[in-house]
Symmetry: none
Subunit: 200 residues, 4 copies
DNA sequence: AATGAATGAGCTTTCATTCAT
DNA sequence: CATGAATGAAAGCTCATTCAT
């Protein structure tokens, strides 16, 4: 498996570079500021080359977002598999997500208004991915409720509130004097756990 | 003061209509989908006319956002002046903000990445306004802490988490089966209060 | 009826100028050589202006072809209404069509592979128009057969052969030493009538 | 002569495949729809390879058209060499040409506006070829006139009318319910002979 | 021989902005 | 005041062509 010729490896690498270039611009100036021209010129390429690797701009943005989402999902999944308590899992998940948001700014990919950017199959697949991610969280919340650790309530509402609060972080983190990311994320997690933890 | 000739009154009214038209489009299709052409055509005007009332597109958007922000600020301020407990004030503020978001969708104006859209003086003034709004909330939170009703913590962090959670609502409210707005907003408020209320 | 303001008249005129510009290029270099840029620059306009009058390039070409087709149809219809014999009508129709082809080169609009250029509604309407034109000819041929003037045969086949021969003229007329157009067209008609006239 | 090494033979074969691929696309979607990319991909090649065999796109198209023209000329020449009457030769030539058009669609190569596509030497040579083909027809017509079988008239005019009618067939044949090609072509020939045959 | 990769010119289209009337 | 008209800058995309390997 994964037998790629040198050429293919190079091509994969190039694609990734392009995706990263696009992500950087998105993170800095927003999706609508992304032009194929700029994505290319950051890599000292020309527009034409980008079109060699991607069908069109929507495809490029789609794959960018997809990459970010998958990275975040992977991290959260590995947290879920650790042998720790539900509460710790939830906390770690929030910390992880928050770190993703403030470091790679991938958080926006979860909170984005996908419908305003994508169409057709692209849209469907990203929505699907977002839902998978949500379900991972929901499962965790449900378990906590069953075990009597969390308050009994509407899972989706709580999950969405937590998501909203986390994703919002991207907008104000930098103002907070660049506190250590890990530390910052843990503080956030501690706060957000109050939304769901049963108070003694 | 406030003595406007008939002509001036008409002009003011026209401006407001244009602003509303712009806001509608923003709410529906998002920020970047706003074109001067569409703003005008919704009012059976032509593009040229819009430029009679506004210097340029940035000006138009600036004033739109400003109007939304001011409306929301006004509502929150009148809540703050009511003769009710701090906790009730906070709850009412959250309810009010949430309703604004899901009905007029003005919430986006608070959560928007202003820096990605505005420049120069426009940007400064909107940031200023956003801060005023934040301070109103902060004052409330501080009072609650002083009175021992709220947990003692970093006010800005909690305020930003609450803002994030509230603003995120715009993205998932409609899926919730169109529950009554007031009722929905109160549910949200009850959840979010847990972030700050001391548990007995 | 037909009450147009001065402005509207000007606009109509402008549209016509643009259509003519497009037709000229088509006639000279073929459809695919038509660029919006060139259509505009021939009128000392900019591309942008053309898009003020037409939705897109397909719309521009559609209206160009349509205009040509309608002009040709009109001429043939007035021939059909004249009080002359069937044979004379057919001859005049052929003459007229031939003259159209070699002078305004509108002939190509009939013979063009519409499917290779147009799509959707545009395509449908032009095909419809082409069929109307064909029917006018067919009716004439049928009458002639009924009256025993023409040989009895498949109308569509004969009509299509005549069309093909006439439309082909555009490709070789200029080589013929610029004979007088009318005279030339009559010669063509005399030849083509042999296809259908009963020989004594 | 004609001593080609295995390598050379392979190269010739490859070239022919590429030419056929180009012709197929032309026949199906028209001239301007031919892209080097598609020509190559139909043969599971890459664009680069095509450029190994042809100088540039014009060269590729030139050789494609040339091949079609030569094939058609060959067929007509063998008809001319048969030991049959002039009238039968003309009829057979028309049948043959018509069949070529509707089966291989090579007809377009004769009727195409070469000047809109080719330049320089390419253009000259194709025009030359087209003229050779025309002369074969013209010789036949002249002989028929000399023998008193055909009406006395301008040979070129008649030849061009016949060409136009035949070439036009490509546009409407398919609508005719897919009549047998041979039968169809003979019907066409019988009609077109009326253009030139002396009526008794 | 063949190909993957890159390029650049050219085209269509959108849209904020201006301005004479 | 309002509008029709025009403009030009930017963006997306296609494709013939080149070239190192």
């Amino acid at each position: 498996m994964n037998i790629l010729s040198l050429r293919e490896k190079k091509a994969v690498k190039k694609k990734e570079e392009i995706l990263k270039s696009a992500v950087e611009i998105m993170a800095g100036k927003g999706y609508h500021a992304v032009t194929v021209e700029e994505v290319a010129s950051r890599l000292l390429m020309t527009k034409g080359s980008v079109y060699y690797y991607f069908n069109d701009k929507e495809d490029l943005l789609y794959q960018s977002i997809r990459m970010l989402m998958e990275q975040t999902i992977d991290k959260i999944r590995s947290v879920l598999e650790e042998e720790i308590t539900i509460v710790e899992k939830l906390k770690k998940a929030i910390v992880q997500h928050t770190i993703s948001i403030i470091s790679e700014r991938s958080g926006f990919s979860i909170s984005i208004r996908l419908e305003q950017i994508f169409t057709g199959r692209y849209l469907e697949e990203l929505i699907q991915l977002r839902e998978e991610y949500s379900e991972d969280f929901d499962t965790l919340l449900e378990k906590g409720m069953e075990e009597g650790l969390f308050i009994s309530t509407n899972v989706k509402v709580v999950r969405n509130l937590i998501f909203g609060a986390m994703n919002g972080v991207v907008q104000w983190y930098s103002q907070e004097g660049e506190m250590d990311k890990k530390e910052f994320a843990e503080m956030i997690a501690n706060h957000l756990l109050r939304l769901i933890l049963k108070s003694k």
